[in-house]
């Protein structure tokens, strides 16, 4: 009775958690699941791509009831959606799990492949060749090995009774190509994340000629504009803008060079692009004790005068004085609506107004009150002495700070080297057995090239050489597409 009870109990029950983990692991290792994930990602990319085109609108025009659907399509930012991020995450996890899962198998194939095979395997192979030689088993093995080695094959042998089994392969390291490729894919994602988290983009980084400005964002970088040059065509079209800059890191000059359109300058992870330029006024301001409180260039044209859009304006902030100075330059296009040019400033003049730094305009609003500065002549405003030294210019750069650059470079190299290894050095394998024959030895060998045309072609190329070296014609088991192979066509002829 006790015996019966014992038999009815389950033999072994795996913990639920183990079963769950095993299933999840197998899901991530499945090539079918990976294909489904890539296919879904592909579909999302297609939906997102079409969103940027006129195709959905054309669909709505063709089938009016789909109007609402198409509107939702245009409204959905696929590439910034959590679904897109989710499928990318899923694929990343799948790549990592699948890679970890494949390492032992691939490593075993490379380092410790199974050498022995069975006569049944060779008999059932789609393509095989049998040589009947007068040589002994050992001599035939030596000849075959030598020939395979001249073809860059590694040959491993194992004696089983009076038979010698062999396994030969070449380009075995190409099996590793999958790892750098998939690592490259993951690194691309990592690079993108690093850039979006730690990178920044400054679209209006303004530096007057002779001035230095901090890049900020904790980079420790600052940039000085040494000189700005521009050249124009006869009809007034700009040909080139060139900013000669020096980059400082923690106060030390680290790189100098020119920045032009399409030719940015990079230092470490920061890149400086030429964007635009404008005029500036070099100003010196001293307080009542003669101390210099400001000596720099002020950009003109970033703002324009209220009431006259053709009059470039600029600001100087003096936090120590609690003041903000407003500068207005002469009308840059006097023939356009001359009635707006109420100030009638001449070349070499600037209008200047003073406001509290909090920006609340009082009696000194632009155009009301203030003083007209003439180049080189100091003017008094309260305790301050202000001098318009000279006209100068400023450049507008864009600053891209991309800490993902090194990761991106490594990812690209990994991607391409992985593809090259996998595609251009295919793993070729041959198995065989040499048995004692009636008057010598019998060699039977077959390529591991099921439904692999190139693999079989390489095997036939080997047979062509083997014919001469072994000295006998083999009995070749033909594949169904025998006519594709030059070797078989010649043999049949």
């Amino acid at each position: 009775m006790a015996d019966v009870t014992a038999r009815s109990q389950p033999k072994h029950s795996r913990p639920m958690l183990e079963v769950l983990v095993d299933r999840i692991w197998r899901f991530f290792c499945s090539v079918r699941a990976a294909i489904a994930e890539i296919a879904f990602l592909t579909l999302l990319v297609l939906i997102g791509t079409l969103r940027g085109s006129s195709v959905p609108r054309a669909i709505a025009d063709l089938i009016p009831p789909l109007e609402g659907f198409v509107d939702r399509w245009y409204a959905w930012d696929v590439f910034r959606s959590s679904l897109f991020a989710g499928i990318l995450t899923l694929l990343t996890v799948a790549i990592i799990v699948c890679t970890i899962n494949r390492i032992p198998g691939i490593w075993a194939t490379i380092t410790h492949p199974k050498i022995t095979t069975t006569p049944g395997f060779l008999a059932g192979a789609e393509t095989s060749a049998t040589f009947t030689s007068a040589s002994s088993v050992d001599d035939l093995m030596a000849t075959t090995s030598a020939l395979l080695r001249t073809q860059r094959y590694r040959v491993l042998t194992e004696k089983v009774g009076d038979r010698t089994h062999f396994y030969a392969d070449k380009n075995r390291l190409s099996k590793l190509g999958t790892f750098p490729f998939h690592l490259g894919l993951i690194l691309l994602l990592v690079g993108g994340i690093v850039t979006s988290v730690y990178g920044f983009r400054e679209t209006e980084f303004i530096i007057p000629e002779g001035s230095r400005r901090n890049v900020g964002h904790g980079t420790g970088l600052s940039v000085e504009l040494n000189r700005f040059q521009d050249s124009w065509t006869e009809v007034g079209i700009p040909m080139e803008y060139r900013s000669e800059i020096t980059v400082y890191e923690d106060g030390q000059a680290v790189k100098s060079g020119d920045v032009t359109v399409n030719h940015p300058m990079s230092y470490r992870n920061a890149t400086f692009y030429q964007s635009s330029f404008g005029n500036a006024a070099q100003m010196t301001i001293t307080d009542g004790d003669g101390n210099i409180v400001y000596r720099d260039a002020a950009e003109l044209g970033i703002f324009t005068m209220r009431g006259n859009p053709d009059a470039p304006a600029g600001l100087i902030r003096l936090p120590s004085e609690g003041l903000q100075l407003t500068l207005v330059a002469p009308d840059s296009n006097p023939t356009n609506r001359p009635e707006l040019d109420a100030m009638a400033l001449e070349s070499g003049q600037l209008w200047m107004g003073v406001q509290p730094i909090d920006g609340s305009a009082t009696g000194n609003d632009i155009g009301q009150g203030g003083v007209v500065l003439t180049q080189g002549k100091p003017a008094k405003i309260g305790d301050l002495s202000v001098t318009f030294d000279r006209e100068t210019r400023f450049t507008v750069l864009q600053v891209g700070y991309n800490p993902g650059i090194p990761i991106f470079i490594i990812a690209s190299v990994a991607l391409l080297s992985g593809l090259a290894f996998t595609f251009y050095f295919p793993h070729r394998r041959v198995r065989g057995i040499i048995s004692p024959g009636v008057d010598g030895a019998v060699l039977t060998m077959a390529p591991l090239a099921k439904r692999d045309w190139s693999g079989k072609r390489d095997f036939f190329k080997f047979l062509e050489k083997a014919d001469d070296v072994i000295g006998v014609k083999p009995d070749v088991k033909h594949p169904a597409n025998a006519g594709d192979y030059e070797y078989l066509r010649r043999q049949n002829a």
Binding site: R32, A39, T42, G52, P264, N402, S412, L419, S454, D484
Partner: protein, 300 residues
Amino acid sequence: MDSLVRLSFYCFAASSFSLIAAAVMYIVFAVGRVRVLKQTMATSTGHSVDSNSVHHEAGPIGFARWGTMLTVFGALFSTLAVVLRWGAAGHFPLTNMYEFSLVFVSFLSILHLVFERMYKVRQLGAITTSVAAAMTLYIWSLDPAMREVNPLIPALQSNLILTFHVGAAVLSYATFTVAFGAATLFLIATRWSTPWLPSPEMLDDIAFRAITIGFPLFTINLILGSVWAHEAWGVYWQWDPKETSALFTWLVYGVYLHTRSLRGWRGTRSAYVLLFGFAATIFTYYGNYFFGGLHAYGGV
């Protein structure tokens, strides 16, 4: 300079006529021919009975040879057209759809000849040279103003990176076309009894070999495009429609490469993925027609 541009156009015209004729020759050869064999048999009653049997067989080899020769002419003339235009413009001609398509025709016809020689499969030309011939008809349909060489807009006045970026794209499109041709023949060969066509296994190999060239090239295209975008705009990737359509095409071929490793998928299903991949390639190729964004130049 004008005479070089005109001479380049004449070379293109010659390549167009050559490739159209080549496509016809290859198609005749690939379709094969039907031969009706009439047999007369005497019966025991002293009568005779006529019987007709129908045999499908390969087309006359002469057509295939003409096809090859005309494709050689097409490749030579289209390449000469590209070289002359290069000389006239002072830069590799890849700045509008006329030039882009001209280079594509040149690359595709050369690539077809390489594959024909490697595999000794002339029937492939029925598809590949047909695509090349169709592309020349598309070039004819473009605005004649595109045939002129104009100064480059600043966005395209860049460097070797841009040339290699677009060049890699055109060459990969050409390899995808070869893969499409092999996949199409594969599906025909496996669906109908066509013993004169190459074996499906060889066609599968041709398609795979083409993808092993095209996929890395397309990857290079994406990488160099990102590098150039960083040089020009300060960002590697902006989710521009042309960028994402290229990513879409890349993913489709990624699916193909994975399906080949699955038992039961290598062959017919993989061939269908290649047809879809070619549709994606066309979508990306002509994307400028319906995409806005950063790639919306090129004269369309």
